[in-house]
Amino acid sequence: MTTWAETYNDYRRWLNGQGIIFSFTGYLSEDMLTTLGSALKKRMALSETDANVAKRVFSVFVEQVQNIIRYSADRLASAEPPVELSGGMVTVGFDGHRFFVVCGNVVDAARAEPLRERLIHLASLDKEQLKAYYREKLREPAEADSQGASIGLIEIARRSSEPIEYDIVWLGTARNRAFFCIKAFI
């Protein structure tokens, strides 16, 4: 019989085998971003990651986590004391050749399709086109209800060495929610 500690050990070994630097699942907040971001910077500095690569990984990480914080449909909030937490998962790893940042969170079905279309569009653009698109979006007034998400995704695409991968798992029999997962390689 497998003990509970063995189960966790298998999980730990599975993560290590994937080259995972850290993986967080639960409720995220801005102070967690500060802490995880600082840990990520230190870890990359210790492993003598090229400074330009480290900056790109950090940038992708920040935009991904802020997207979860702002857009996750799984939220816990209280007015007093003021707390706002967003459910999701973030994983950063190195597969021997490239860093990767995977983020996933639950979104309402209505948000999933526009997000998918944005990612398909971004994947069709080369580096120069992404740069031009970023500039264009910076000059525009913020889109209603987007809090700048489109620029965040363009930033991720610009810092990535490959098109952003994504996948969707529909949830529940009504399929009114989806787990939206995106993976960026640097």
Partner: protein, 129 residues
């Protein structure tokens, strides 16, 4: 106008807006929890200064090492204000300081520079001591 001095934190840059000298500084990293509320007062003060009768020349020095996309938006808003003021005859110089090995900050500088016609935008690679 009262001088604005904000010490840097892990997530927000050093800010020094010395209106009496026309000298502005932003340095460090910028990914505040809420970039709109961090930058809104700065944008407001800058607008008040640029729209005042005080026509002294402006020197804006940036030495950013990292900023997120919402901070980029705020920087763009500041630059548009400066460019507009320059278009109306104000002398404006923007100095973009960056480490020569920092590809991302160099590229951002080149991108932002494209938006200036009336203000002077200078790329300023730093020299290691």
């Amino acid at each position: 106008m009262e001088k604005v001095s904000i010490a840097p934190t892990d997530r927000s840059p050093l800010v020094e807006f010395d209106f009496s000298k026309g000298c502005f500084r932003l340095e460090g990293e910028s990914y505040p929890e809420d970039s709109a509320s961090f930058f809104a007062p700065l944008l407001k003060d800058m607008r008040t200064f640029l729209e005042s009768d005080d026509a002294r020349p402006v020197s804006f020095n940036l030495a950013m090492t990292y900023f997120n996309s919402s901070s980029a938006k705020a920087l763009m808003n500041m630059f548009q204000m400066l460019e507009d003021a320059a278009g109306l005859g104000r002398a404006v110089v923007v100095n973009w300081h960056y480490h020569p090995d920092d590809d991302t900050m160099e590229e951002f500088g080149e991108d932002f520079g494209l938006d200036f016609e009336n203000a002077e935008f200078r790329m300023c690679p730093t020299v290691d001591a």
